[in-house]
């Protein structure tokens, strides 16, 4: 059990990233706040043994709470429709059939955030969370596997699918831009 002071320190340090993570999973402001509060309430009674960082431990609690709330198992499709889109970019020999295009110049932060927002909404929750934990929170692969409860190989598949779809989606927007 953590001391009240340690809980307060954890709130100060981690509530912001957890809140953004819950919002990023598509929950409303009110739901995200409730999920973060429940996460810290669970921490009060949990046994944190220091096998991961406290932040990774909290991400794990939050992720399970998000799944419960959504009542989705977060199952991954054996064949993902995005895989075909990726394959269509190449000739059978593995050469580029349609080489990558854009962005011509770096977008500013607000513009980039707006562009990717819609693309992220279309991702399945587990792919989105794998991508978010790696790219936004910059968690180590082992920590992401721990949070999502997946193997290292499965994580690579999740990240491949997330990045391949997001890249394809953004490329369409870059070309129009």
């Amino acid at each position: 059990m953590l001391e009240p002071q340690a809980i307060a320190a954890a709130v100060r340090e981690h509530s912001g990233v957890l809140f953004r993570a819950a919002l990023g999973q598509g929950f409303s402001d009110a739901d995200a706040e409730e999920l973060v509060q429940e996460t810290f309430a669970t921490l009060l009674s949990a046994r944190f043994e220091g096998r991961s960082t406290l932040r990774t431990f909290l991400f794990g609690i939050l992720y399970r709470k998000c799944l419960e709330r959504r009542r989705e198992a977060g199952r991954e499709l054996a064949v993902d429709p995005g895989d075909e889109v990726f394959e269509s970019r190449f000739h059978t020999g593995g050469h580029w059939a349609k080489p990558p295009r854009g962005p011509e110049q770096d977008a500013d932060a607000a513009e980039a955030a707006a562009l990717i927002s819609d693309c992220l909404k279309a991702l399945p929750p587990q792919q989105k969370e794998a991508f978010r934990l790696r790219e936004v929170d910059q968690e180590e692969s082992a920590a992401v596997c721990n949070v999502l409860g997946v193997s290292d190989t499965h994580l690579r598949v999740l990240l491949f699918r997330a990045r391949a779809k997001l890249r394809e989606c953004l490329e369409g927007k870059w070309k129009r831009g």
Binding site: F19, R89, H95, W96, P100, A107, A112, R132, S141, L170
Partner: protein, 86 residues
């Protein structure tokens, strides 16, 4: 264009390279895997463009996350949680 060094070893097709880049092998792969990717990237402009797109994706995701809640909203949340939990 397919980058391939003849002779000693193959550095993989563009399809394999793009798939490995998207899976994050450049950050988390073994030494040899990363080396082969780097060699392929050094000689293949389309795959370098693909890698640049992935980097732009990463930057966009960080900007998106930051845009989800303002610092003022986070401060208000922190205050509320501290009152309720401690």
């Amino acid at each position: 264009m397919e980058a391939r060094l003849t002779g000693l070893f193959s550095v993989g097709s563009c399809r394999e390279t793009a798939a490995r880049l998207a899976a994050g092998v450049l950050e988390t792969g073994g030494f040899l895997e990363r080396l082969l990717l780097r060699i392929h990237l050094a000689i293949c402009p389309p795959c370098r463009a693909f890698a640049r797109q992935l980097a732009a994706l990463s930057a966009a995701a960080r900007a998106w996350s930051a845009s989800l809640a303002s610092p003022a909203r986070l401060a208000a949340l922190e205050k509320k949680l501290l009152e309720r939990l401690t």
